[in-house]
């Protein structure tokens, strides 16, 4: 299952770099593409702005198939304050831009599954694939606007 989660994250990160290379985050003294996996970082008092945060939630297993299928639900959280140069008045536009980036990142709806415990990563036999995202409503806390989207990622155990 971890291979599927790793592959999903790395593929989205690769796509984000192509879609918007300017979306970066400074984490532990390193500038990285603006997407991270919550469970693989130190605890946040508040999730960083202008960054996509992947949070893994539910898990389903179907064992009646020739190969066991695993469904894992991923919540993608993102929020923004807009930009300083516009005094935060562009926060709605910034959130819309992130909405579009996420849709683009999730297309196409599949990617090869790789084992990232090896260096370099080793291609596995199957692909992972996912459903269309279900977007939640925008929430506003003072000037901070947030949204989350949920997507179910499917993979076969191998």
């Amino acid at each position: 299952m971890q291979n599927a989660k790793d592959s999903f994250y790395v593929e989205l990160r690769t796509r984000l770099v192509a879609i918007n290379p300017a979306r970066t985050v400074l984490l532990r003294s390193a500038v990285r593409p603006g997407i991270l996996v919550e469970e693989a970082e130190g605890p946040f008092a508040q999730l960083p702005n202008d960054v996509f945060v992947l949070r893994w939630l539910g898990l389903g297993v179907e064992q009646n198939l020739p190969s066991t299928m695993v469904a894992e639900e991923c919540e993608v959280l993102y929020s923004t304050l807009g930009t300083q140069s516009y005094g935060g008045l562009d926060r709605g536009r910034a959130l819309s831009a992130m909405d579009e980036e996420l849709v683009e990142m999730l297309t196409p709806f599949w990617t090869p599954k790789l084992d990232y415990t090896a260096t370099p990563a080793v291609a596995m036999l199957t692909k992972i694939f996912w459903d269309e995202p279900v977007f939640g409503q925008v929430t506003a806390t003072r000037e901070r606007m947030s949204r989350s989207a949920r997507v179910v990622v499917y993979s076969y155990l191998e």
């Binding site: 009646n64 198939l65 020739p66 469904a71 459903d131 269309e132 279900v134 179910v152 499917y154």
Partner: protein, 324 residues
């Protein structure tokens, strides 16, 4: 209840497992399953020649037999009953698409799409194929020896069909599984390899031959067998050929008890059918799983025990310690 035994309730099962074995069509010889002798087999490794097709869903049996009353007297009263017709159907859904499940689920002939030669004209079930490669001596069910130059024509990951050249024979074609019935001779030298169930995926290629990722269903290739690459599979709606297989369905209860439904002769009933099930109906996602539907009519066999004609054997192996 007594020491060491208990009153068992109805078996609680989670799934139905399906197994099929080829009927010798030319000899009209179905495969018989003896639950007393073989009923304890490991579900993932059934006794030969049964082939596991994994779990199936929607398993439904429907008895079509009719009985009639023999009336006598005034006013007429039932004297006895007689069985007028003997008929049964079974239907279910396969949870995988393989050569065998497609072949079983189609109501007609099932064929291999042989890799086509360069410039071959289009044909619904595959055009003129790349010429077959001869096998050298020493072939096994998992290794196909051939000249280095011939082996170089294949690649790991390809699917290959292994069978003899078609030589003008009529009647049932294909061994050990009859994949077609020919009323008149053809001219296609590859016809047997088009209909054979003797297919497998290539695991690796070496200068001495092809190592297969799975054993050929037919075992060691027949003398004179040749190899051709397969691009995929195709079946047709229509035609006059009916698949016939022996079927075995197993329900295993939570206490280890087993229920077997053994159909010595199952013929495909109806045409190929697929069903789309939502992968995540609760969430309303758009992903759908396409599963093969299979419907079969049970044909009778004569039970050698007493000469009765029957279509299905239902066996029950009680759990250890359960009172009977």
């Amino acid at each position: 209840m007594s020491a060491g035994s208990y009153l068992a309730g109805a078996p609680v099962v989670r799934r139905v497992r399906g197994y099929f074995a080829p009927v010798n069509r030319a000899g009209s010889l179905p495969v018989i399953f003896d639950a007393a002798e073989e009923g304890g087999f490991a579900l993932d490794s059934p006794p030969a020649p049964w082939v596991s097709l994994g779990c199936i869903e929607g398993f439904a049996r429907k008895a079509g037999s009719k009985t009639a009353a023999v009336m006598t007297g005034i006013p007429a009263a039932v004297l006895e009953q007689t069985r007028e017709t003997l008929d049964a159907q079974v239907s279910f859904r396969f949870l995988s698409w393989t050569k065998l499940t497609m072949g079983l689920a189609t109501g007609s002939q099932h064929m291999n799409l042989l890799a086509t030669a360069s410039g071959a004209g289009a044909a619904g079930d595959g055009g003129i194929a790349v010429p077959a490669v001869s096998l050298q001596t020493g072939a096994t069910a998992t290794f196909l020896p051939m000249a280095a130059a011939d082996a170089a024509k294949f690649a790991a990951g390809q699917v290959v069909a292994v069978d003899v050249d078609y030589a003008g024979q009529t009647g049932y074609v294909g061994s050990p599984v009859s994949g077609a019935y020919l009323k008149a001779a053809l001219t296609d030298v590859d016809y047997v390899r088009r209909v054979t169930f003797n297919v497998a995926r290539v695991a690796s290629v070496s200068t001495t031959g092809l190592m297969l990722a799975e054993a050929l269903p037919g075992g060691v290739p027949a003398l004179g067998a040749k190899v051709q690459a397969v691009a995929g599979f195709v079946d047709r709606e229509g035609g006059s050929f009916f698949q016939e297989w022996s079927g075995l369905f197993v329900m295993e209860g939570g206490q280890g008890e087993r229920i077997f439904f053994h159909y010595p002769r199952l013929q495909a009933a109806g045409s190929a059918e697929e069903f789309a099930d939502a992968l995540d109906a609760k969430r309303g996602g758009s992903l759908q799983r396409v599963v093969l539907g299979g419907a079969f009519r049970a044909l009778p066999v004569t039970d050698p025990l007493d000469g009765e004609r029957v279509v299905c054997y239902r066996s029950f192996l009680p759990a250890v310690g359960a009172l009977v």
